[in-house]
């Protein structure tokens, strides 16, 4: 993988590491099977990215739309296979417009440079990673809880705004009670976002009390509903992309799996 990131440097590719590898670098995950990248969606940069992939003899993987900026800007995922000498090939998934994020430039300004044996990598901020992880996969919400705890641990004195962010990204009642017992006095009622059940639990911690079962039950249901809503939004995000891919497949316009990326640059 060192070769891939060296190629990015040579081609001056503007990228951000997202997904599971980013979660691992922050300590919020233990394992991921692939590499997810956010590539700045400009013509020059997308071409530089493909050139870098060409340098490392990457091949197109499955369900990949034409590698033009049009499809990049529509928020599609592009899937590649990176050969690695004597090792399993690496799967690389790239996007120019990942869901729930703002412009690349702003995320790049918030990003961190992290030294690794693969080089100094550009990694999305924890806050951006939390937004990216609000997917249609329930397992990602455990990673979000860990990212929130890790971020709070980095802050010596989290502000009420940061605490509201933490509460909004907590999805299990046991995580909420752990958060409130540690930081309760910093959490303002606004963090409940008008939800009476959550407000009741926050109020109890602010008063130095342990909330009753009668208070915790509705709060747990409120968290479940919040997570279900995000899961559904995450699922819906992909519906137009799936429709695009079906149409491309019907017209035989998906990139053929196994195609060397270098060939895309000749077109």
């Amino acid at each position: 993988m060192k070769g891939l990131f060296r190629a990015f440097e040579r081609e001056r590719v503007e990228y951000l590491l997202i997904g599971g590898q980013a979660a691992i670098l922050y300590g919020a995950a233990h394992f991921t099977q692939d590499l997810d990248l956010w590539i700045r969606p400009t013509s020059r940069n997308w071409r530089a990215f493909l050139s870098a992939l060409g340098r490392v003899r990457a091949r197109v993987h499955k369900l990949t739309p034409p590698a033009s900026l049009r499809w990049v800007r529509r928020g599609h995922g592009f899937h590649f296979l990176i050969p690695q000498k004597g090792r399993l090939p690496a799967y690389l998934d790239a996007m120019g417009r990942p869901p729930r994020t703002g412009p690349f430039g702003e995320a790049a300004r918030r990003s961190r440079r992290i030294d690794t044996p693969w080089g100094t990598l550009r990694v999305v901020s924890i806050e951006d990673l939390v937004r990216l992880k609000q997917t249609n996969r329930p397992g990602d919400y455990e990673v979000i809880s860990r990212l929130v705890r890790i971020r709070l641990g980095e802050l010596r004195s989290p502000s009420s705004g940061q605490m509201a962010w933490a509460v909004r990204n907590t999805f299990r009642i046991e995580d909420l009670t752990a958060l409130l017992s540690e930081y309760g006095e910093r959490v303002r009622m606004a963090a409940a976002d008008g939800n009476k059940a959550l407000a009741r639990v926050i109020r109890a911690y602010q008063a130095g009390e342990i909330p009753s079962e009668a208070a915790l039950g509705p709060a747990a249901r409120a968290l479940d509903l919040r997570m279900a809503d995000l899961l559904e939004k995450g699922r819906r995000h992909w519906l137009p992309k799936i429709a695009d891919l079906r149409a491309l497949r019907a017209k035989g316009r998906l990139l053929p799996a196994g195609l060397p990326v270098a060939r895309l640059l000749d077109e």
């Binding site: 993988m1 590898q21 691992i24 670098l25 922050y26 300590g27 919020a28 995950a29 233990h30 394992f31 991921t32 099977q33 692939d34 993987h61 499955k62 369900l63 995922g77 899937h79 399993l88 090939p89 799967y91 998934d93 992290i114 030294d115 690794t116 044996p117 693969w118 996969r137 397992g139 455990e142 860990r146 890790i150 992909w238 992309k241 799936i242 891919l245 079906r246 497949r249 998906l254």
Partner: protein
């Protein structure tokens, strides 16, 4: 391209399934980010069918 058949896809090996869901251990947080990256990447060797796993998790279902 044929629609993918989920029933044929092997599950994540148990050890990796546990790693995904277990709480983050303190010793994991004490490693440098680079050390975590290397160890996590090495665990990919435990995968019997990395392609099936990738496709199951990362490709949309058409």
């Amino acid at each position: 391209m044929a629609a993918r058949d989920r029933s044929r896809r092997p599950p994540l090996p148990r050890i990796l399934e546990e790693l995904e869901t277990e709480p983050v251990r303190q010793d994991w947080l004490l490693l440098t980010p680079g050390q975590r990256l290397v160890r996590a990447w090495r665990m990919r060797r435990l995968l019997k069918d990395p392609e099936a796993l990738h496709d199951e998790r990362s490709l949309p279902r058409l």
